[in-house]
Symmetry: C3
Subunit: 259 residues, 3 copies
């Protein structure tokens, strides 16, 4: 498995972060054994990408003026053949739809991680996205993320009570029903950073998406069991687990099914 490779190689993960949740994302990457880099300046992007093993672009607090920076970051990563992960926060909102379309004209994403409403947008389904929350009216069907994967040629990681990981051909479902985690803002952003850490150490991005999602689910379960329905304690407890969890624990805890 890949977790031990991360802990041995300490890959550098360059993040264009959601400014709200960036401390958690940086901590999570660090707890895992990888090393977070956060940059907000286009002039240093070329040299930052050059030393990185993965790039994670999160549009949670996107700004129009940063589009050239994100395109540059993605294009250099594409040329260097290092993985580029997209977290398309609230992409079904009209302005964000337009922003992501412009971004995807210039950058090839290797993995896209979002909730059901966000992922459905990539399949051309126009759900009435309600901000950051998944539209629960979309029934979670593997067919939709599969279609999104086929159209984007990216590995899709769709998160929710059941996570779906697919490259359009093969698909896994990972049970991950963790309401205490869902009430913490940024758990999805954190997973996107973790996916970046896994994709940094393999060329098999489907496997990276699967193992990162299994890790997050198992660590979340262990952490939730410790905090006794106190969600304010969960993020620190989750960090403890990202630091300490073993591959054996992940295998034992995860409920994974290939479809």
């Amino acid at each position: 498995m890949l977790l031990e490779v991360i802990r041995k190689k300490h890959p550098l993960i360059l993040n264009h972060a959601n400014t709200v949740t960036q401390q958690h994302v940086a901590d999570g990457i660090s707890m895992l054994g990888a090393s977070p880099l956060m940059s907000q300046e286009q002039l240093e992007i070329p040299e930052m990408v050059k030393i990185s093993q993965a790039v994670v672009i999160n549009i949670g607090t996107l700004q129009e003026t940063t589009l050239p920076e994100l395109i540059l970051m993605g294009q250099i990563a594409n040329q260097a053949e290092i993985p580029v992960i997209l977290d398309p926060v609230a992409v079904a909102m009209p302005y964000r739809s337009d922003f992501v379309k412009r971004l995807m004209k210039e950058v090839k994403f290797d993995v896209i991680r979002g909730n059901a409403a966000e992922i459905a947008w990539f399949a051309g389904m126009s759900s009435q996205g309600q901000g950051i929350d998944a539209d629960t009216r979309i029934e979670v069907q593997t067919s939709i993320p599969k279609r999104s994967a086929q159209l984007t040629e990216a590995v899709i990681v769709q998160t929710g009570a059941t996570d779906v990981i697919t490259d359009g051909k093969r698909s896994w479902r990972v049970k991950n029903d963790n309401p205490l985690l869902a009430v913490n803002v940024g758990s999805g952003d954190l997973l996107s950073g973790i996916i970046g850490s896994f994709a940094a150490v393999t060329k098999d991005y489907l496997q990276a998406g699967l193992e990162a999602t299994m890790l997050m689910g198992a660590a979340g379960q262990l952490a939730s069991a410790k905090v006794h329905n106190q969600p304010g304690q969960l993020m620190p407890a989750l960090m403890d687990q990202l630091y300490a969890i073993t591959e054996k624990q992940i295998e034992q805890i995860s409920e994974v099914n290939e479809e």
Copy 2:
């Protein structure tokens, strides 16, 4: 009471946040049962306000270039008749005074939440504001926040060892002497977000300000009792309480007096 309405309706609260404390603010709104939206891009403000039930503007890390964005946010909210809350961090500083004056020419605020020095500024009293901290030389008199409410036509929530909530006619005092909370940066910002969550589910903004302040005081007391004089543990413990506290607990714990 309004807390159960929030937990049933999950209103969307759009925040122009203090970037220092925005993770806590977003988490607090989420723990309460509402849903936080954070935006930093003027181009998406119209559609963001349209789906929101309240708007919270915090000037803790204000930038000159964001003034048009804040005016737009406030004006659209005013037209849509959704509540606009102002957190006037350090408004007695000269540049911030000027900034807020320009903002208030264009936007009507429904609730203003600040410490005694900040609230006194709205009553035309020029205290020598010392950054983010309240000027303790201002004796906390209900007459000052009342005057601020009358001049701004906003509900005033003045926080300190005793909180004052007033619309210029009716006034309440809520005992809330919590030194462990005061030493945590952002507890005021968090309350402003919580006030937004309450104002989102009623047209009675005075009642919203009162119930939000009672909730924060009661949750703060319960959390402080748990952490045994360890202020670093308080914010997670406060989040637990925002998630779990009942209206009955709030009524039992709160020391409220109408004047």
Copy 3:
């Protein structure tokens, strides 16, 4: 010692922060008894510096457009003879090298706090900096930070398993081997803010750097002992210690040697 002076005088510490870690930095300064100010707007810099007792500039998330703001902040502080602290995150990267050179042409720094790779850069040693992490290939020799201090005329605080504090003439080594702390993103940024708090209450910046580093080391040890190898619990536990630790505890715990 200076800690009691901070707790009595509550100095204002103005920060140009790393946006990733700014909540921890502000909290740490507050827990200690000082008062954090964070600004991102050049127009208010003159009045902000005027009420502050120290200025801390962290380039962790530097942006080209903020250079004039940082120069203004530093120059006004220099003129007012209040201390200016630099945290030169990843300064060995080419763009950041250039940025810091331009900044240092205009601003005199009184204290510079960084890891071994960052400090070596000021001595003219071009290590291949790997992002935010220290290049462990640099053997930690007191001679390098001494040379950096002589060339910059600043007090140098070099952090690592052993911290080195030097003004180029006198040098101390403080044992501070805390892997749980190192895995938390922002512990260095936090120390820079703490150094600012100490430098705010004395003109002896070497003593300020030494006492701040001893405090951080002792508080980190006490906190680590409490969290039982759970690094996610460490930052809250460290905040508890910054709030509660006594000068007597610091003296008893610290392993300090003058060279």
